[in-house]
Every structure is written in C-alpha cells, then in structure tokens.
C-alpha cells in the first residue's frame, strides 16, 4: 500500500506541511492511522486512495494548525508558489504525462485545484487567499475536475486506440 500510494500521498502532505521532516512525520502517521483503521474502510463509499488521501490531508492540516508549528513556519503565501515549483522539480512523473493531464487547464483553474486538493485549503480559505468569491472557487474547482476527467478519458481513449492499432498490426502480420 505504501509502495503503491506513498509518493502521491507524500506529494499532497508535502504541499500542505511544507517542511521535509514534518512531512515525513505526517506520512508515517497517516499510514499508521490507515493501518489501525483499515477495518473502517468501505470500498463501496470510496476508492482506497481517496480514503488514504483524506486521512493524509486531515493529518497534515492537524499539524499545520498546531500553534507551535505555525510559529516555526512564518513563511508567507508567496512561498507557496515557490514551493510548488520546486515540488514540481522533484515530481517523479514525466512532463509529457503531466502536460497531457492538464491540457486545457488554465492557471486560474489549476491554482484552485492546487490550493484545495494539494494544499488542503478549504474553499473559503482558497477564496480569501486568491481574492475571488466563494462561488467562483466552487465553479472553478468543478471546472478543473471536469477538465481532468476529460483529459483522463481522452488519455484512456488514446491508449485504447494504440492498443487496437498494435493488435491489428500483429493480426495483419500473422495473416501474411
């Protein structure tokens, strides 16, 4: 489970916590919580990844809320972008796949999904931070997810098309 989801979960945690040592601590606590409460997981309600991601996000936000932690880390919001850029540099996925997934996702939508999904902001917090109305945040989040769904679907279609093409090529050569 850790091998399968650890990197993606660590990406979420790191963007919320923004501290390497604390991020590892949260990651460890997340998987301990997962292990302890695995009997509570209901596969009919959500995927395993979604369930773990919610636990990770809440665990990370709990840490961020700690006054001590907040006092230690007095970086302003400008650093978020810097961190995101550096985080992208550490990204283990290929640029091609990334570009394919976010194709058509304008920055104004991307920033919303980043803040809410990757950085653990609530919609209200995101609205305040981005200085846009709450309704706009909701709409942009919805739109951003739709773009991702579409790109994911087209990515699958492309893969399926490639698979069919390869199979037809094989059949063609076999018939020769």
């Amino acid at each position: 489970m850790y091998k399968k989801y650890g990197n993606a979960i660590f990406g979420i945690i790191s963007r919320i916590v923004r501290d390497d040592h604390s991020s590892e601590e949260v990651l460890q606590n997340t998987f301990l919580k997962v292990w302890k409460s695995i009997s509570d997981y209901d596969e009919n309600k959500s995927s395993l990844f979604t369930w773990i991601a919610v636990i990770a996000r809440n665990t990370a936000l709990d840490l961020v809320r700690l006054k001590k932690f907040q006092n230690l880390k007095k970086t302003d919001s400008l650093d978020i972008t810097v961190y995101n850029d550096s985080a992208r540099a550490e990204n283990i996925s290929s640029t091609l796949e990334y570009d394919s997934l976010i194709k058509g996702l304008e920055p104004k939508y991307k920033v919303v999904i980043d803040k809410i999904y990757l950085e653990g902001y609530s919609q209200s917090q995101a609205a305040e931070l981005l200085e846009i109305p709450l309704g706009t945040v909701k709409t942009r989040l919805k739109y951003a997810v739709n773009i991702l769904r579409e790109n994911l679907g087209s990515e699958k279609s492309t893969l399926f098309g490639m698979f069919v093409l390869i199979m037809l090529t094989i059949i063609f050569f076999l018939c020769q």
Binding site: F10, G11, S39, A53, V54, E90, S93, I113, V145, L148
Partner: protein
C-alpha cells in the same frame, strides 16, 4: 423541493465529497442522492480517478524505509474477526503441559526433599548409634582390661539375689557397673550409687534405672566402699538405708 441528478452533478458537492470536505448536511444530501441515483457512483469514481491522477502527477518520492522501524499494531479486521485459533490451541497446550510438568516436578521435589530429611534423620540416628556402639565397645574393652579390679556386690539379706559387679580402676579413676541381676523397681523409683568414706556422710553419685547391662559410673577419690540403694525416682541427697541393696568394698 426535489433535486434531480444534474443539480447534484453541477453543485460541486461530488468533488467536495471525494475530498472529504462536506458539511454534515451536504454529506447527508450527497449520500441520499447516491442512494436515489446509483449512476452518480460512476461520477464519484471518475472524480476520484481525476484527483488520483492529479496527485500522481504531483507525487514526490517518499522515503522508502519510512515504515521499516514502525511497530504496526495488530488490529486489522482480520486480526479482530479471525483470531489465530492454532496459536491459541498451542498456547493452551503449552500451558497445560507446563502445568502438568510443574506439578510433577513439584511433587517429585517434595518427595525428594522428604527423602533427604528422612536420610538425614537416619544418618543422625546411625551416627548416634555408632557413637553409642563405639562407647559401648570401649566400655566392653575395659571389662577385660587387667588394670580394672573386679569387685562383686555384697547384697543385703532383703536383696540377696542381686548380682552386680564393679570394675574399678584407681589409676584411671574409672568405675564400671555390670548388672547381672537387679531387683524390681516401681515406676517412681531409681537405683542410686553412693560413695562411702570414713567420717563423712554418704556422697550421692549416679542415679540409674534397670534397663542397662553395663554402666560407666562416677569415680570418687578416697572412697572406701560404694553402695547401691533404691531411692525415689531422680535420686536423693541421703541414702534410704532400709532399701540398701548391697555394698562394694574397695
């Protein structure tokens, strides 16, 4: 007000449902909608996949050995619902066998301890007997020692059948009495030996019963004769003359 499926799809609640960010009221609304419109499940799954893909794109390599040194608790569903029966049986059997072996060991240890105590008592008895036999042997040796003079008792008329011999060694200052025939004693009586010297009162010496054949008794320097009387049990300070059995004239 009835909500149709598109209202839910367009509300943005499904996205927040996947994020786990819904208020209790909105959560109840989405869950009710999922029951009412099962096809929403597919929307939920698509949103989950989109988020997961986005998370994968933003993945950061996690430390590989982060959980290696973590003691994971054994409270998974399997652990709760499927207890290790084999292990329980093995534990129970081990405890049972351990209990039996402990009881056997305890019993054997007790028996062994009792045997040791018995042996120690036997050893003590044997040592005592051995010491008595050695003493008796030494005593018998003296009976045939030529340095000892033999003096037979001169019994009084009332106790004429009495036969006692005194073995006397003036050099070694030792006296031994050999009983061949003694008068009967009542339960509250004892025999007592006296030293008789000229111009002095009889000196009380050994007090004894009639259960011995040979007895080493006190030697009193300057004694002209030894006498034996029957006295109240435990002896007396002055002899009961009407119960004088006999006299040994040195």
């Amino acid at each position: 007000m009835s909500i149709n499926i598109n209202d839910i799809r367009n509300s943005g609640l499904l996205e927040l449902y996947v994020l786990g960010n819904l208020s209790p009221n909105d959560l109840a609304l989405v869950e009710a909608s999922l029951k009412k419109f099962p096809e929403l499940k597919s929307d939920i799954q698509d949103i989950e996949k989109a988020f997961q893909a986005y998370a994968n794109m933003h993945a950061i390599e996690a430390p590989k050995n982060l959980l290696d040194n973590v003691a994971l608790p054994k409270n998974t569903k399997e652990a709760k619902t499927k207890p290790n029966t084999g292990l329980k049986v093995l534990t129970f059997a081990s405890l049972l066998i351990g209990g039996i072996l402990s009881y056997m060991y305890y019993t054997q240890a007790n028996e062994a301890e009792q045997k040791i105590i018995d042996c120690e008592e036997d050893q003590e008895t044997l040592e005592t007997t051995n010491r008595e036999l050695i003493a008796q042997n030494e005593l018998y040796k003296k009976l045939f020692d030529p340095d000892f003079s033999t003096i037979n008792v001169e019994a009084t008329p009332g106790y004429a059948s009495t036969q006692i011999t005194l073995k006397n060694n003036a050099q070694q200052k030792e006296n031994i009495l050999i009983f061949e025939n003694l008068p009967d004693l009542a339960q509250d009586q004892s025999f007592q030996l006296w030293s008789l010297k000229a111009d002095t009162d009889p000196i009380p010496l050994d007090v004894f019963q009639n259960d011995l054949d040979v007895l080493e008794v006190a030697f009193e320097e300057g004694t002209s004769a030894y006498a034996i009387t029957i006295e109240p049990k435990g002896g007396s300070q002055s002899p009961t003359l009407d119960r004088l059995i006999g006299v040994f004239n040195i």
